[in-house]
Amino acid sequence: MNRILAIAENTFRETVRDKILYNLILFALVMIGSSLALGQLTLGNEDKVILDLGLGAISVFGLLIAIFIGIGLVYKELEKRTVYALLAKPVRRHELILGKYLGLLSTLGVNLAVMTAGLALALAYTGRAPAGAYGRLLPAVGLIFLSLALATALALLFSTFSTPALAALFTFFLWVIGHFNADLRRFGELSGSPAVEALGRALYYVIPNFGNFNLIDGRAVLQTAGYARPVEWWAVGGAGAYAVVYIALLLALSILIFARRDFK
């Protein structure tokens, strides 16, 4: 456990000093900031615009951070042989995977915290959001964090056996179709063919369902009057359970592949 923590801490230290990270965070903050300007173009619901744009920016830039830094780091470690020096130490391969993953998660967590603070500031600037909105911002960002943790585990799995470009592509591709899971199943059901329906259903369960994390949007954070859907805590819990189970699956597969791997 000590070794896993040492690896995690080291990974965190390495990633938070990477320039790409600052560029990405800067971009995200600029985007959140520009939502202030965009918010003024609408009538009466600028805080919703700010939230929708801000949460969107956090999600997309978080994904970019997860993909580029996560995959880049693992790849560098494999390609440039740091991993050789590490594995010659009394480090077991699964400790390396778990440590890397934890380190990446902490980097992601810090990034999300910075971006969330930016968003809260933008929201405070308008002064219109109800006080409770700031509290509800946390579960909204928490869900984004869960979806990014899942994406990071995917990226980690892919980078144990493929090139970084392919790993990034696979991860991004799954992230996109992972939002269309429900549609896949519905297409299958509408097709009327039992085979297509079974296929749609199978894909629905196999492809990571990123739609599970789309629970709290700007309106839900604000709890605008007339919006019937409150933040449903069972759904947040369900999404959490889903993330934990799916991530466990991905990490177990990563370790299995990594343990068998030859480092040429």
């Binding site: 297409f187 369960y205 599970n212 789309n214 799916y246 466990a248 177990a252 343990a259």
Partner: protein, 289 residues
């Protein structure tokens, strides 16, 4: 290597176990989430509701995205709840169609079937013929040489808005599009003379049935034709029963009823004198004014 085998294989075994357990759990967890999700509109359906924004974000994949939006539109329209009932309102229908046709202005089915979905009164459609006209006008701007889109507009004026003059004018306009068929002029004349609303309706739905390029539109036209037929049949039967009662003071003990358009005899109850479409009939009856 044999070395450290005990240790390594323990980890491997643990991972295989964890992977299996997790794989088995994913399904139930997903089902737990789905079981409690509100069956209503999925919140992400209209994550972006501005056609222009969606178009900018399509980054060159407009046709593909248009197809996806078109499929979502159809699902949205065709979706039923757990009891198999259709949804009550179609508030997002126009926006979905608008996005679809902005992404791919060439998707003619989206204009034609879309205007049909929009015009039909609830529960079949959105009951918004005004929006159907908007959509068809947008289509005509994108396809100035396509008389059908103009013709459909007249159709909406005539059948849903009951504005016969506007319908006639629109059909005249459609007839002026190069390549338009001759019969449009006749249709326009009938509409402008305001005569025989029902005959015009039957003629219109028959045209719609014959010209239809999509199954959804054809089925809808067929249902309308059947419904008109059923209405006429029932009116005639009720007339016969009424005459019999006036003559004999009682309902006819039996009725040699004709069959409905799908081949099922109409249901007649000699005690109450009621005649109705058989509940088991395959006709999808649209009780329209």
């Amino acid at each position: 290597m044999k070395g450290g085998g005990g240790e390594t294989s323990k980890v491997v075994l643990g991972c295989v176990g964890a992977a299996l357990a997790a794989a088995l759990l994913v399904g139930p967890v997903q089902d737990f989430i789905d079981a409690r999700s509100p069956a209503g509109e999925e919140p992400d359906l209209l994550f972006f509701n501005s056609p222009g924004l969606v178009q900018k974000m399509a980054l060159g994949f407009e046709p593909l995205l248009a197809d996806l939006y078109w499929m979502r539109t159809i699902q949205y329209y065709g979706r039923r709840d757990d009891e198999g009932r259709r949804r009550e309102s179609f508030g997002n229908l126009y926006t979905l169609l608008d996005i679809t046709t902005t992404l791919d202005p060439g998707l003619q089915d989206a204009y034609r079937a879309g205007s049909c979905f929009l015009s039909e009164p609830p529960p079949v459609g959105a009951g918004r013929p005004d929006l159907a006209l908007e959509l068809l006008k947008k289509g005509a701007r994108a396809h100035p040489r396509e008389w059908r889109l103009v013709y459909e507009r007249g159709f909406v004026h005539y059948l849903y808005l009951k504005d016969y003059a506007a319908a006639g004018d629109t059909w005249l306009e459609a007839g002026r599009v190069p390549g338009a068929p001759e019969w449009l002029a006749g249709l326009a004349a009938m509409a402008l003379s305001k005569g025989g609303a029902e005959e015009v309706a039957v003629a219109l739905w028959r045209r719609q049935y014959e010209e239809a390029t999509s199954d959804a539109v054809r089925d809808n036209a067929r249902n309308h034709l059947h419904s008109l037929q059923v209405k006429r049949d029932l009116a005639e039967l009720r007339d016969r029963i009424e005459r019999h009662r006036a003559a004999t003071g009682s309902f006819p003990p039996s009725l040699r009823t004709p069959r409905d358009p799908m081949g099922t005899p109409y249901a007649y109850d000699p005690r109450s004198g009621r005649v109705e479409l058989d509940p088991g009939s395959a006709v999808r009856f649209l009780d329209l004014p």
